[in-house]
């Protein structure tokens, strides 16, 4: 079964779980399944059905932008990673817009 790797900034939605197995055949379906099980999380990733500009989604090492976007097909053991922009480093630390949940 494919799985979704949830970034630490969103694990408050998943009870701290980092890897969520989903019965899905596309990335869009996988995110929908994630939302069904952890309501509210998809609003942090998607905006009007599209990936937010400060978030990238990868299937394994590959950017879905170079595949078929949210319609990218998932195989049995694929791992979908949600990668947000982060900006901490010097005086402070910040996760781009994800920590306001």
């Amino acid at each position: 079964m494919p799985s979704i790797r949830v970034p630490s900034a969103l694990r408050n939605f998943t009870g701290g779980a980092s890897d969520i197995e989903v019965a899905a055949t596309t990335v869009r379906d996988a995110l929908a399944e994630l939302e069904r099980r952890h309501p509210g999380i998809s609003a942090k990733v998607l905006d009007n059905g599209a990936v937010k500009p400060f978030i990238r989604i990868f299937v394994g090492p590959d950017d879905i932008g170079g595949l078929s976007g949210l319609e990218t097909q998932l195989a049995e053991r694929d791992e979908v990673a949600i990668v947000p922009a982060i900006a901490g480093g010097a005086g402070g630390a910040g996760g781009a817009g994800l920590n306001d949940a």
Partner: protein
């Protein structure tokens, strides 16, 4: 002839980056307009309580030079107005700031001027390091535009995390300045360093219509040195 690098940010990430690059013989310009505060010491371990109130850039440059390196401090932020002076003849620019807009400004300038660059960031228990080089997909291809980020008080960062991410950023920078393009256009994602230290290395495609790449002397679509075919698409 010495290789030169500009380091933007002299804090938690900037400290280990500066010390590592300085010890490796890279001549540094260190840009930061901040001063050392007590709340910094938990993660900016290059500083001590004796440094409180001192300019970070100057203090860090002194530490680099005390170890035999060369570093010039500049008490300024990286902006469009200061970029040309700070970047000058740097072979690489390394962003270790805590400001999203600065990261984009550094990357955009580096892309437009055909320089290599590294964007480093840390948050909570993990971080990201992006390696940029002429002809590869850029930071703006990756994350499009800066967005509001919460403060350290909101998100926080584990002290050792910035040291680890800074060390990786320094290693990636050394690779780039010595011609190793294996990671150009890749993002190293460290999810939770308490549990695993291996990064997920992901590669992203040039973003269609990226305004930064449009100003690049070598656009991703022109580059022939990429290891994989360039695929232009949107992350949708």
């Amino acid at each position: 002839m010495k290789l030169r690098a500009t380091l933007v940010g002299a804090g938690g990430l900037g400290g280990p980056i500066a010390l590592a690059l300085g010890a490796a013989g890279i001549e540094l310009v260190i840009a930061d307009d901040d001063i050392v505060e007590l709340s910094n010491l938990q993660r900016q371990i290059q500083f001590t309580s004796a440094d409180l109130g001192q300019p970070k850039a100057a203090r860090l440059a002194e530490l680099v030079e005390s170890r035999g390196g060369l570093a010039r401090p500049v008490a300024a932020r990286w902006t469009e107005a200061t970029a040309d002076e700070l970047g000058d003849d740097a072979a690489i620019v390394i962003d270790a700031s805590d400001d999203p807009a600065t990261k984009f400004a550094v990357a955009d300038w580096a892309v437009a001027s055909g320089r290599c660059y590294v964007i480093a960031a840390a948050l909570r228990y993990g971080g990201n390091v992006m390696a940029g080089a002429p002809g590869a997909a850029c930071y703006r291809c990756l994350f499009e535009a800066p967005v509001e980020a919460p403060s350290c008080a909101d998100a926080g960062v584990l002290g050792p995390v910035v040291g680890a991410i800074g060390g990786v950023a320094a290693a990636v920078a050394l690779g780039l300045v010595h011609g190793d393009r294996a990671l150009a256009g890749a993002l190293l994602v460290f999810d939770d360093l308490r549990r695993a230290s291996d990064p997920r290395i992901v590669r992203f495609v040039p973003r269609k219509g990226c305004p930064a790449c449009a100003r690049a002397p070598i656009s991703p679509s022109m580059a022939s040195s990429l290891a994989t075919p360039v695929r232009v698409a949107e992350n949708r």
